[in-house]
């Protein structure tokens, strides 16, 4: 049978059309609009007496002197530092532990570690607020019993970011554990048997076998984590409300403040563009670096 290739192409286009339309409508079009908005002095929604005005690069040039932007930028960087690599290592360690178990115990332990991941962020916030609340938190009674002074964890700028990072790792590492487990299971058992025959120690097996073979998964986890943590918002928003919001700003929070609280669509868009570019640059860089590292090993 002779196939009509022209027809095939048509069908292909028809089949991908719904995706393209939706993608264009809810991703490409708003993104273009965001870029346009970032060059204007405009409210979030142009309506009535407020109208947009072209201001060129003004929204960008004022960023370096904007103190809140500085806070948001450095806090985001600090948060990424506190979560990406530590979170990945924690997940790897837990995954290595879980592979040593077997049967029902393994499923049970895995389920326990995965459980936090399915919680909505508001529940995570409630749990940890109840635990660490200065007046009534369970942890504070523990502090009292140990004779340590109570610490208002989410109300001081020293402890805020580390605490949110800790909660985030607790909350999200379940997913990374799953990825690592899949990676570990893909390593053929024969390799380990051979290593055992060669009388290799546990550390050597990990360093020479597990780590390099697991590297593609590690690279993937690192990249996912990096992108995710750059976009942090919910946890910071929930834990800081009423506390010291402007000391604990992160990029997305600052966008939210500018856009929804100050109704400053233009300036919000400019920050969003900066974050957009940051995410692209950092993740491409990260991925390339990791690939480079892979070739070396």
């Amino acid at each position: 049978m002779i196939r009509n290739t022209k027809n095939d192409t048509l069908i292909a286009y028809v089949l991908i059309a719904p995706f393209l339309v939706i993608y264009g409508l809810i991703f490409v079009y708003p993104t273009i609009n965001m870029f346009i908005l970032s060059f204007q002095d405009a409210p979030l929604i142009s309506f009535g007496p407020q109208s947009a005005e072209w201001t060129g690069l003004d929204n960008y040039t004022r960023l370096p002197d904007d103190r809140r932007f500085g806070t948001a930028f450095w806090n985001t960087a600090y948060f990424v530092l506190l979560t990406v690599i530590p979170g990945t290592l924690v997940a790897l360690a837990i995954a290595l532990g879980i592979t040593r178990l077997s049967g029902r115990i393994q499923s049970l332990v895995l389920a326990l570690f995965f459980l936090p991941y399915i919680l909505p962020v508001s529940v995570v916030y409630r749990i940890w607020d109840w635990t660490l609340n200065f007046q009534f938190g369970i942890a504070m009674h523990l502090f009292d019993a140990l004779g340590i002074d109570r610490i208002p964890i989410f109300k001081t700028s020293t402890w805020f970011m580390p605490a949110v990072a800790f909660v985030t790792i607790w909350w999200t590492c379940g997913f990374s554990i799953l990825l690592f487990l899949a990676g570990l299971r893909a390593i053929p058992v024969e390799f380990y048997e051979a290593a055992e025959l060669d009388n290799a120690g546990r550390w050597t097996v990990f360093r020479k076998l597990t780590w390099p073979l697991l590297w593609p998964v590690t690279a993937l986890v690192l990249t996912i984590q990096l992108i995710l943590q750059l976009k942090i918002f919910d946890q910071v928003y929930l834990f800081t409300t009423g506390g010291r919001p402007n000391d604990n700003l992160v990029m997305v929070y600052y966008i939210y403040q500018r856009a929804f609280q100050n109704d400053d669509g233009g300036r919000a868009a400019a920050i969003a563009v900066v974050l957009f570019v940051m995410v692209i640059v950092v993740s491409v860089l990260n991925f390339q670096l990791l690939r480079l590292a892979e070739r070396k090993t």
């Binding site: 009535g48 007046q135 009423g242 609280q261 109704d263």
Partner: protein, 419 residues
């Protein structure tokens, strides 16, 4: 089958009743006052059967509510009527999301400037035009535990705390409570600067301080007045007279459990106290106007008001407009019940009534209506507005003794003027 017929019949009847105006209503009132508003709406619907029916939806308080209003107005899908904070009206006017209430409207509603306190009327007025019908004023008050005050020997004959007229007097009460073994003489929401803004702004008002003058924040000696207010509160922390790093629910819990003898909080907590007392789970309690710490009495207040969104077809001369005006007028005139939520009805006809004067503790603190101050009229002010975040960031460390008040004022001044 009978049921089915019933449903079908009901549906036809509902269609037949389409001649009546349906007023789409949005509010942000959940919790104790939400329950009371729902019952007011039911009463309204019952009294206007066949003429007007309110179709009410309750949305999330704060930024989510106001963002939704803005977007819905822009696309012409706004409700016919909505609740609004008076403090947010300047911002709403600059965004063009609400319609003015015209002189003809006021006349039609049978309400006028005389029916409202001056501060409340001014709070809904921008450039000489009114943009909302005030429903209530909700100031903050001082809640107190009579049993603990009595134990400390600081309760007056009439059952009010001693020393409400001066800083020295009030501090004497705080010290006496501490000596009497009370853990926290004053329960303060020190972990939430947004909330403490209300107390601090009241203390500024007691010195005739203003936040915004001629477009500049904390100009002249206003900065010093803010610093004075912060210094007093920080000293209370240093003397261990108030709870530290305490968030809103924890503060209420400290008070209701008797660990804190007094608490500065909004009148909206009155239903909480009443309900607990009715169940026999609360001590003998009361609420009064804030103590005078500086020169004269002054209390922060905001007002829940009704506004008509722009761009929704509720134009003058339409039947819908008439219905909306009837809603606002009726609820304002029947707002006595609303007072059971702790709020002070804005309609002075209601507060002058015999029934209201019997209502406790409202009657005790409604004297403060004469000393109310509202937020400065600015696009930055209002609940959940940008000014709140700046303040909160520096209030929390200052109130808990981490930051010097002078330093905090300097930072606040810089950030506010940088918005």
């Amino acid at each position: 089958m009978k049921q089915l017929i019933g449903i079908a019949l009901g549906a036809t009847l509902a269609t037949a009743a389409q001649a009546q105006e349906t007023v789409v209503w949005w509010d942000f009132l959940s919790g104790g006052d939400g329950v009371r508003m729902k019952s007011l709406i039911e009463d309204f619907n019952a009294a206007h059967e066949g003429e007007i029916a309110i179709d009410a939806t309750t949305l999330e308080w704060g930024v989510p509510f106001y963002s939704k209003v803005q977007t819905s107005v822009a696309v012409g899908e706004a409700p016919d009527i909505m609740t609004y904070h008076a403090s947010r009206i300047p911002l709403a006017v600059s965004q063009g999301v609400i319609q003015p209430i015209t002189d003809a409207d006021w006349e039609q509603m049978g309400l006028s400037q005389e029916d409202f306190a001056e501060a409340t009327w001014n709070a809904v007025t921008v450039d000489g035009k009114q943009y909302a019908v005030p429903l209530d004023t909700h100031p903050i008050v001082l809640y107190y535990n009579r049993e603990l005050l009595k134990k400390a020997g600081r309760l007056n004959e009439d059952g009010t705390p001693m020393g409400l007229d001066s800083r020295e007097g009030f501090e004497e009460t705080l010290a006496a409570l501490k000596d009497a073994g009370v853990e926290y003489p004053l329960g303060s929401v020190t972990a939430d600067g947004n909330f403490m803004y209300r107390t601090i702004y009241s203390f500024m008002g007691q010195q005739d301080g203003e936040l915004l003058t001629d477009g500049e924040f904390l100009a002249g000696d206003n900065a010093e007045k803010l610093q004075n207010a912060l210094t007093v509160l920080q000293e209370w922390t240093k003397n261990q007279w108030q709870s530290t790093y305490t968030d809103y629910p924890a503060t209420v819990a400290l008070f209701t459990s008797g660990e804190a003898a007094m608490m500065i909080n909004g009148v909206w907590e009155v239903p909480t106290m009443k309900d607990l007392a009715d169940e026999g789970r609360l001590f003998d309690w009361g609420a009064v106007e804030l103590p005078v710490i500086f020169d004269h009495a002054s209390t922060y207040a905001d007002s829940h008001a009704f506004a008509i969104p722009a761009n929704n077809g509720v134009d003058e001369g339409t039947a819908k407009r008439d219905a909306v005006l009837e809603v606002m007028s009726w609820i304002s005139k029947n707002s006595l019940f609303w007072a059971t939520a702790g709020h002070i009805p804005a309609n002075s006809g209601v507060t002058a009534s015999e029934e209201y004067s019997q209502m406790e503790p409202n009657a005790t603190y409604s004297s403060l209506t004469a000393n109310m101050i509202f937020d400065p009229q600015s696009e930055f002010s209002g609940v959940a507005g940008p000014m709140f975040d700046v303040m909160s960031t520096y209030f929390v460390p200052t109130l808990n003794g981490e930051m010097d008040p002078a330093k905090a004022v300097e930072e606040i001044q810089y950030e506010l003027n940088d918005m």
